[in-house]
């Protein structure tokens, strides 16, 4: 492996690895959702993307509103703890917005799709979907007969994105990436992808990674680019760095319901800023409101 640093700006990472028509994953289950990358994709005007995520969350609602998406692959499309994603709903209910194609699973189905993709298998079997209407509306949920027991098992096809964008607490310049707190499906999504962009709160020396190798979730050998973007997950959160901005999620209900208010938000905080630093300058109160409290763990002895 080459020792050349993979650290690039968000602008360069998106320009190089996210193209019109690509299948794009920005993962993170409530935790570590990379809004900074989604905003840069909007700024660069990407079109016809197939966006995949278990929970589209506010970031895909913004990208749908901005016209980046042709299709959404998902398993739960709501505003967690609040209500609806209204740009998504307008596009699916056909209320004036361009129609969005959808492909829908349950969480287990999406997890299994990433697991198959990561293992480079064509599908993944799961004991699921009997008695539900999901296979009726999604013909890609199928069945296979187990060659050992004869049992009918549901199957979902592998998901192999063109690019996955994974936010994390820290990585070294090669992309050895450490995550703690909720892990979601980031590992599977990264291994399933043709390209991986890692976005981190902190860039650390390789020695920091080597001191605690069990915490590495994504190894450098699958990483194409490392972007250093503190607070890059806001209004999502990063365990040990900052809390979720729940007020922003609550306010999204009214903001996304009103198409003009949503456009104003995108103009002010996404298209109207040059990069993440400019986004943060507009909100100087974030650290005072959201900075995480100390709750350190003692560590373990890796000696032999």
């Amino acid at each position: 492996m080459s020792d050349v640093s993979k650290v690039v700006s968000m602008r360069d990472a998106v320009a190089r690895f996210v193209h019109d028509g690509d299948t794009v994953v920005i993962e993170g289950f409530t935790h570590l959702i990379c809004f900074a990358a989604g905003h840069e994709i909007i700024r660069q005007g990407r079109r016809d993307l197939t966006l995949c995520r278990l929970t589209p969350d506010l970031i895909y609602d913004q990208m749908i509103a901005a016209g980046c998406a042709r299709k959404l692959v998902f398993s739960w499309a709501g505003n967690p703890g609040v209500g609806s994603l209204h740009a998504f709903r307008r596009a699916v209910e056909g209320r004036g917005a361009p129609r969005l194609e959808i492909e829908e699973y349950s969480h287990f189905g999406m997890v299994a799709r990433f697991a198959a993709g990561a293992a480079r298998l064509p599908f993944w079997p799961l004991r699921n979907y009997m008695g539900t209407d999901l296979p009726r509306v999604n013909p890609r949920i199928r069945h296979v007969t187990c060659p050992y027991t004869g049992e009918a098992l549901a199957t979902v096809p592998a998901l192999n994105p063109d690019v996955s964008i994974i936010h994390a607490q820290r990585a070294d310049a090669q992309g050895n990436t450490q995550i703690w707190g909720l892990l979601g499906v980031q590992k599977e999504a990264a291994f399933a992808s043709a390209h991986v962009i890692v976005v981190v709160e902190e860039l650390v020396d390789e020695a920091v990674i080597r001191a605690d190798p069990n915490r590495t979730v994504i190894p450098a050998l699958i990483v194409d680019a490392v972007v250093v973007e503190p607070w890059g997950a806001h209004p999502s959160y990063a365990q040990g760095y900052y809390d979720r901005d729940n007020g922003f999620y609550v306010a999204w209900e009214a903001r996304s319901r009103d198409r003009d208010a949503l456009e104003r938000y995108l103009d002010d905080f996404v298209r109207g800023v040059s990069d993440r630093a400019a986004y943060l300058e507009k909100q100087p109160d974030l650290a005072a409101r959201l900075k995480a409290k100390e709750r350190r763990c003692a560590g373990v002895n890796y000696g032999f």
Partner: protein
């Protein structure tokens, strides 16, 4: 509803917790009769002891002080599909006569009148948890004879449909509402009236469901929350009234 749901949980059980009222009920049970309840969240927290009421199912407070945090592939394959979940909690926009739940669409799937969030982990919880408890407010809109879309299977079209489909879990056993508790009749798979809240009559409940609701021979009376439960809910678990309303 939270205290009625909490009483259904047995100390030491492993519970798959949903956000909102189920979360409140599980934490109330842990603070009262079930201190060794193991809370599992689909986000990957196992044995969580949240120090604040989680706003979402992925709240950072679920991680701090938890027994284990794993990836979601592990939650669904190694814990849920492995058969380790005793109780699953589900809610829904529609619940039908056989306890089938819709959280996907009102109207047709292709041209929905209202697009709801979808399954999340609910479909697999409904299939795999050894039993499920359903929590929903009683109204004719919420309790039609047939749901528009089966997101999470209850007892299908009734009878032994779950066994025929080889579902590992027993499915919904109770539906806890704000007026009454409905139970599943083991023979027919149909929801029947089992207990009434104080001041509520069977006719009030029948007016809120879209099918001729059968009744247990002698329906019970649900005890209102006692002073300890009320104090915990109002002062400790949900002081900001995120979920407790009215």
């Amino acid at each position: 509803m939270a205290s009625v749901a909490a009483r259904e949980l047995v100390d030491g059980e492993v519970v798959f917790v949903g956000i909102g009222l189920p979360n409140l009920a599980c934490n109330l049970a842990r603070a009262t009769h079930a201190p060794r309840l193991v809370l599992v969240y689909e986000s990957g927290a196992v044995g969580a002891t949240p120090a604040r009421l989680p706003v979402s199912i992925g709240d950072p407070a679920l991680v701090t002080g938890s027994l284990m945090v794993c990836g979601m592939a592990d939650v669904f394959q190694l814990i849920l599909q492995n058969g380790r979940i005793a109780v699953g909690f589900l809610g829904g926009a529609q619940v039908d006569r056989y306890g089938n739940i819709n959280t996907t669409v009102i109207g047709s799937y292709e041209r929905p009148a209202v697009r709801l969030p979808g399954s999340g982990g609910a479909a697999e919880i409904a299939i795999h948890a050894r039993r499920t408890l359903v929590v929903a407010k009683l109204s004719p809109r919420t309790f039609p004879a047939h749901v528009d879309f089966i997101t999470s299977p209850g007892h299908g079209g009734g009878g032994a449909s779950r066994r025929q489909l080889r579902m590992p879990g027993a499915g919904p056993v109770k539906v806890i509402t704000d007026k009454a508790v409905l139970e599943v009749d083991e023979g027919t798979g149909e929801l029947v009236l089992a207990a009434l809240y104080p001041g509520v009559e069977a006719s009030d409940v029948r007016g809120c469901v879209g099918w001729p609701l059968a009744c247990r021979p002698r329906p019970g009376r649900v005890a209102p929350p006692d002073a300890t439960e009320l104090r915990l809910l109002r002062d400790v678990l949900d002081p900001e009234r995120l979920y407790l309303k009215g």
